[in-house]
Symmetry: C2
Subunit: 422 residues, 2 copies
């Protein structure tokens, strides 16, 4: 089947096939870099791997409160035959002791203190008794480097701390601070154009004339784009007009790396979207119709290196289509590289529940059903929210979704289901 075959006709494919076609073309140009302070880097994607410029720690440190010792001096020590050692001083925090310890000598040290020259272990306070002000009994032998972090134990000079494509977590910020890396190169957040189409739409802050409604899908998309690490760029509300849509998309292609068009779920409007996508040259429209509910009238294609989606106009269809098709594309555009081991793992919290009411589906489609949860006798039940995909309130009442897979005719009440929580 060529792309041209699909123009203006419904060539419904499965969700899986649609996603395959879309991602096959997702050979996106590498996003731009920007250098930002590590304090602002939470959730951002590392653009250039970060190498440790120094050893961490730079000196041997104690991990306990106790005494810095030469481990050899404690060999054989026990409750019945303690080692008697001379305290030659306290090690203040933040300085390297100015003298070495010799055979039979020890120094008091706090957690994080620097070991004096000659010491190779720390004995915990708990395993010592003070005989007098200058003499300490040690009742357990200390092994070499016991309770000591040696130079480079945490990070070695030249070691890769964070790889390209890694998403910054709080601990990553701390690791960079530890070695004095206070700015980091991250990928620029991808800009995503949001175009609302429909003669019936007015802005959310306007009073709709009779027969008109407020544009709400752009707000849902704005939130979904932000959640996915993108920057939403509103391109306004336009009427169902092919030329106007083409001009608006052309403008969006200048600064955005992904274009989302909502509305136009009627046959004529969908044709406009398909024609406009085709007009930017190959590969054009790759998907026109998906065997899922809601979200069937999806259009997906590429204008050169920029993916363009024509999302159905029903509020719930917008949310489901974004989740299933747009989010994976946007994830690539952020530059994030998921660890291979985490790949099969849902990016969402998933809970198991019993289905409270049967869901009927058809063998030829995948259903995404909104549910809320109830506890009955301590058991979790997933209750499908009543109401069609045109009702935004059904999404507000829901706490997650249940998927009825392709090839089944539904799920029976009482069956166990997986609920993906929002």
């Amino acid at each position: 089947m060529t792309n041209k075959d699909m123009l203006g006709r419904s060539c419904v494919v499965t969700r899986e096939e649609a996603l395959r076609r879309i991602l096959e073309h997702a050979a996106v140009p590498s996003p731009a870099h920007e250098s930002i302070p590590i304090s602002s880097s939470l959730g951002r994607i590392v653009a250039v791997e970060v190498i440790s410029p120094s050893e961490l720690p730079a000196f041997a440190r104690s991990t306990m409160d106790g005494y810095a010792v030469r481990s050899a001096d404690t060999f054989g020590a026990g409750e019945s035959l303690p080692a008697l050692l001379n305290v030659i001083g306290d090690i203040p925090m933040g300085v390297i002791p100015d003298r070495a310890i010799e055979k039979g000598e020890i120094m008091k040290i706090a957690t994080g203190g620097a070991l004096p020259e000659g010491a190779d272990a720390v004995v915990m306070l708990e395993h010592t008794h003070a005989v007098d002000e200058r003499t300490i009994e040690i009742t357990r032998p200390a092994g070499p480097i016991e309770h000591v972090v040696q130079p480079g134990d945490d990070l070695k000079k030249g070691e890769v701390i964070l790889s390209r494509g890694h998403r910054m977590r709080p601990q990553d910020m701390a690791a960079l601070a530890s070695v004095g890396v206070t700015t980091i190169d991250v990928f620029a957040r991808p800009k995503v154009a949001v175009i609302s189409t429909g003669n019936e739409l007015v802005p959310a802050d306007a009073s709709p004339a009779p027969g008109r409604i407020r544009d709400s899908n752009s707000y849902n998309l704005e939130g979904l784009i932000l959640q996915s690490g993108g920057i939403p760029v509103r391109k306004g509300i336009i009427s169902d007009d092919e030329d106007l849509l083409r001009t608006t998309v052309k403008d969006a292609l200048k600064d955005c790396c992904l274009v989302l068009i909502t509305g136009g779920s009627s046959v004529g409007a969908a044709d406009h979207t398909a024609k406009v996508v085709e007009s930017f040259g190959p590969p054009g429209v790759l998907v026109h119709g998906v065997s899922m509910r809601p979200g069937k009238p999806l259009i997906a294609g590429w204008a050169g290196t920029v993916p363009i989606f024509g999302l159905p106009g029903h509020p719930v269809a917008v949310a489901v289509s974004f989740e299933v098709f747009v989010r994976p594309v946007l994830a690539r555009l952020t530059g994030e590289i998921t660890l291979p081991v985490l790949e099969g793992i849902s990016a969402y919290r998933v809970v198991r529940a019993n289905l409270a009411r049967s869901i009927s589906s058809g063998p030829g489609r995948e259903d995404h059903v909104r549910v809320f949860l109830e506890k009955r006798d301590g058991e979790l039940w997933a209750v499908p929210v009543r109401g069609g995909s045109g009702l935004i309130s059904t999404l507000v009442k829901a706490v997650g979704t249940v998927v009825v897979p392709l090839g089944t005719i539904g799920i029976e009440a009482g069956d166990e289901v997986e609920v993906r929580l929002f």
Copy 2:
């Protein structure tokens, strides 16, 4: 046991008991409100319940492309005896049709179009045949309100759309836009003071003299606070000095509703923190030592209505203590009210894996172990990261944690464990 008993001594309690004591006092004053545009409201907490100011939709709308009909005109229609009806026009999107339909009349309508007076149902295009330009055959009866959304079906005027304490999701933004609510009252994000203590600490952008290290815990906390919906407020690095700490905490109490002090894991420094917390009057120190690893030397108390935590200085202990104790307190301070049905459900993604190496613990403590994941023959294995809680790199290498519960002596290699992903 009174609070005074704990001052300066280790009265180790379980994690559960510590959390109980902390939350018991979490009767926080209601956070301030602020009014923000809905576009900026993702993740914010609703401060005043939002009521729909109008019906949604305001007029009867079609959910399909087809014909607006009087359902009575289609009764009894079938393939063998179709109803023959007169098309009297097209309904353009965005306007209320200017004439009613009478018996035997229909109008062409698109998804989202307004039904004309007299019509009470929509027949899908698929169930019609055009006889001529003005006559349509309908081969299936339409029930009343079939494929029609009636006024108020989505939201009724006066209906509560969002409750106080609800965390804003993308669909919530869309629902508010639908009824023209473009600003929303949310709770102000709680300001959280971060104080780093230790004579050995220098700022992350400084070059530490021998024996000194860079302050990194404040960066970890900054990230954790942001993740939890708070605003981190750096109060700088101070030396281990009781008076200086008191002055700094006093200053923090002016603008912050939660104070985190890190470092001071040595006995003397912990005493400073405990004394300072006590100095602000009752209830003072409520927890001084928790039977968990890492994170044992935790101090928690309240200065009036402001919770204060003295977190251990080891990087991993900071992360674990935050997770276990600070996050639940901060969650209350955001004003969020979790749906009761979601209460027992982890706020994190959790995966099950086989433990790759035995973890030894002690019956008297709970262990939080950092792990990474590996796939072996398609099975997921959790591999404990080697290295003590003083090493930040262990947290960077990990993808999650495994908890060894209190009262067990460890978990054997091969056993199934739950990994809470970061």
